[in-house]
Amino acid sequence: MHPFAQILLDGIFTGSTYALMAAGLALILGVVKVVNLSHGAFFSLGAYIAYVLSTKGVSHPAAAVLPAALIAFAFGVFLGKSFINPVRSHPFSVAVGTLGFAILFEQAAQMLWGPHPVSIGADPPWAVASGVIVRRWGAVSLAASAGILFALALFLRSRWGLPVKLIAEEEEIAGSVGMDVEKIRYLTFGFASAAAAVAGALLAPATSITPTMGRVPLILSLIVVIASGMENVLFLFLLAVGLGLWSNAFAFFLSPQWSYVSLLAGICLLLLLRPSGLSATAPGRDY
C-alpha cells in the first residue's frame, strides 16, 4: 500500500459525500432561507433505507439511492409544506422545530431498528492500482456526488433553474412576476432532503448505522456551506473534498484525535479572514 496516496484518495471519497449533503443544505439556506437542523436526520434515513434493502438481499451501493431519494423527498416536501413555510419568518422557531424533527426521527429509528449499531456488508475493493486501493463504496459515492452536483449546477444555470435563483436573490420580485414561491420552496426543501438521504445511502456500506449518525455530517455540511458560501456549487464541492483531505492528512501525520478539532479551527480562521465565505470573491453566481 502507498499510505499517502491512499489517504488522499479516501479523503476525496469521504469529502465528495459531504459535498452532496452540503449542497442540499446550501439550497435550503439560499432558497428557503432557514437553518435546517433536521438535515442530518435525512442522512441517517438514507443509511437506514440502504440497511433495510441489504436485509432483503439488495446490497449494491447504488441500489438504495433512488428509494432513499424518493422517500426523503416525500418527507422533505411534507416538512417543508406543513412546518417550514408557515413558520419561516421566525428563524428560531424553525431551528427548534427542525431540531425537534431530527430528535423525533432518532427516536423513531431507535424504536424501529434499536439503539445498537447496524451494519451493511461492504463489498471487496473495486481495484488496486500502484499500491492504492479504490474502495467500491468510495468510487460510487464520488461518481454519484459529482454527477448530482454537476446536474444541479447545470439546472441552476438553465432556464428551469431561474425561478430558484430568483427566489434566492429577489424573493419579492419572484412573487410579483407570478411564481409560486411557496411551492418552489417546499420542493427545494424536498430535493435538499433527498440529497442528504442519497449521501447517507452512499456512505452506509462504509460505516456503522445508528440513529444519531447524522449529527456529525450535519455539522460538517454546515461548515462547508458557511465556509464556501452558497453561491457556487464547484467551490462547495472542492471545499468539501478539501476538508476530507485535510481531515485525513492531519489524522495520518499528526493526530487522529485532533483532526476534527483542527478542521473546526481552520474553518474559524477562514471565516475570520472571509466572513462571507470563499466564493464571495468568485465571479458569477450559481444561485
Binding site: M1, P3, Q6, I7, D10, G11, T14, S54, H116, P117, V118, S119, I120, G121, A122, P124, P125, V128, I133, R135, P205, A206, T207, S208, I209, T210, V216, L220, S247, N248, A249, F250, A251, F252, P256, Q257, W258, S259, Y260, V261
Partner: protein
C-alpha cells in the same frame, strides 16, 4: 441508573450504570446511604482504589466485571499464547482506553510483545481511513481494537478493505453482537473478548439460550452477562447472609463464593471479583461464517 431488586427494601441494594463517570456518582451515594452497590461493567481502577484506600466509607461497593488490569492480563494471555510479538492498539480516545493501553503494554512486555503502532481517535468524528491505513502499513501481527461502540465495525471494514490481513482482537461490545459481526469481512480472524459465551459452560449456554429466546438475538457476552451476574450475586449474598441489612450482605460477599453465568465469583480485599482464575476467566471467541467459536481458553471436551 440504579434500581432495586423487587424482594428487598428500597434503599438496601443497587446495581450500577454502564459508564465510569455515572458509576462514581452512585458510589458516592452508596458511601452516604449505605446500600450495597454491585458494579457490573465500569472497569476503571479508581472504583476499587476507593475501597482499598477508604474501606470504612466505601465497603458497600463491589465490582463484578473485570478491572482494566485484569482485562489487560486476559487479553495478553491470549495474545501471548498465539506467539505474537508485534501488536498495534487502536481505540477511541477515552480515558478508559488509555488506562487499558498502559496495562496491556505492561502485561504484554511479560510475553515479550511490543507495540508497533498506537492511535486513538475521537469517537465523535473518527478519522478511520488514516488510522486504518497507518495501522496496515505498520504490519502488526495482531491489532487490539479498544472500542466497544459502533465505530469498531466501521474500523474493521476499513482495515480489511485496505488489505490488512492481521487478526483483530476487540475488547468486546458491538463486535460481540452477531448481527453486526455477520456483516463484517471475515477474510482474516476477528476475535472478541467476552466475559462468557455460549458453550463455555452449562450456565453460559443456558443463559445465552434464555436471552435469545426472550430478546430474539444472542447476548454480546459482556454488558448483558455481567449485569445479570451482578443481580444473581446480590440475591445469593442476601440468602447467604440470611438478612437484608447492608453490613450482613457485605460480610457474606467478602467471605463467600458465588456462581454466575461467567463462573464462580470471589472478591478480593478491594471488593474486585478475581478474574483470571480457572473458575472465572472470560473467553475469547472468533467469528466465523455462521457463528462464533470459543478459541481461548478452549472448552474442555465432555
Amino acid at each position: 441508573m440504579a434500581f432495586t431488586l423487587p424482594e428487598l427494601p428500597y434503599d438496601t441494594t443497587a446495581l450500577e450504570p454502564y459508564l465510569s463517570a455515572e458509576t462514581f456518582v452512585v458510589v458516592e451515594v452508596a458511601a452516604a446511604r449505605k446500600p450495597v452497590v454491585m458494579v457490573p461493567v465500569a472497569a476503571t481502577a479508581e472504583i476499587t482504589d476507593l475501597v482499598r484506600r477508604e474501606y470504612d466509607r466505601y465497603r458497600y461497593v463491589f465490582r463484578v466485571g473485570y478491572s482494566i488490569p485484569q482485562w489487560a492480563e486476559m487479553m495478553a494471555g491470549f495474545i501471548g499464547r498465539q506467539g505474537f510479538t508485534r501488536y498495534a492498539f487502536v481505540g477511541a480516545g477515552i480515558r478508559w482506553n488509555r488506562e487499558l493501553t498502559r496495562e496491556l503494554k505492561e502485561a504484554l512486555t511479560r510475553h515479550k510483545a511490543a507495540p508497533v503502532y498506537e492511535a486513538f481517535y475521537s469517537s465523535r468524528n473518527p478519522a478511520f481511513e488514516s488510522v486504518a491505513v497507518a495501522a496496515v502499513s505498520e504490519a502488526p501481527q495482531i491489532l487490539v481494537l479498544g472500542d466497544p461502540g459502533g465505530n469498531s465495525a466501521e474500523f474493521v471494514k476499513r482495515v480489511r478493505e485496505g488489505g490488512g490481513t492481521f487478526p483483530i482482537l476487540s475488547v468486546g461490545g458491538a463486535l460481540g453482537d452477531a448481527r453486526i459481526a455477520s456483516t463484517l469481512p471475515l477474510s482474516a480472524p476477528l476475535y472478541v473478548q467476552a466475559a462468557a459465551w455460549k458453550g463455555a459452560s452449562e450456565a453460559a449456554t443456558r443463559y445465552a439460550e434464555m436471552f435469545e429466546r426472550r430478546y430474539g438475538y444472542a447476548p454480546v457476552g459482556y454488558s448483558d452477562t455481567l449485569p445479570f451476574d451482578a443481580a444473581t450475586l446480590l440475591f445469593q449474598a442476601v440468602r447467604a447472609a440470611g438478612r437484608t441489612d447492608s453490613d450482613a450482605v457485605v460480610k457474606a460477599l467478602e467471605a463467600g463464593a458465588f456462581r454466575g453465568v461467567a463462573g464462580t465469583y470471589r472478591f478480593d480485599a478491594s471488593h474486585q471479583a478475581v478474574w483470571g482464575t480457572p473458575e472465572l476467566h472470560g473467553n475469547v471467541i472468533r467469528w466465523e461464517q455462521g457463528g462464533a467459536r470459543i478459541v481461548f481458553p478452549v472448552p474442555e471436551k465432555r
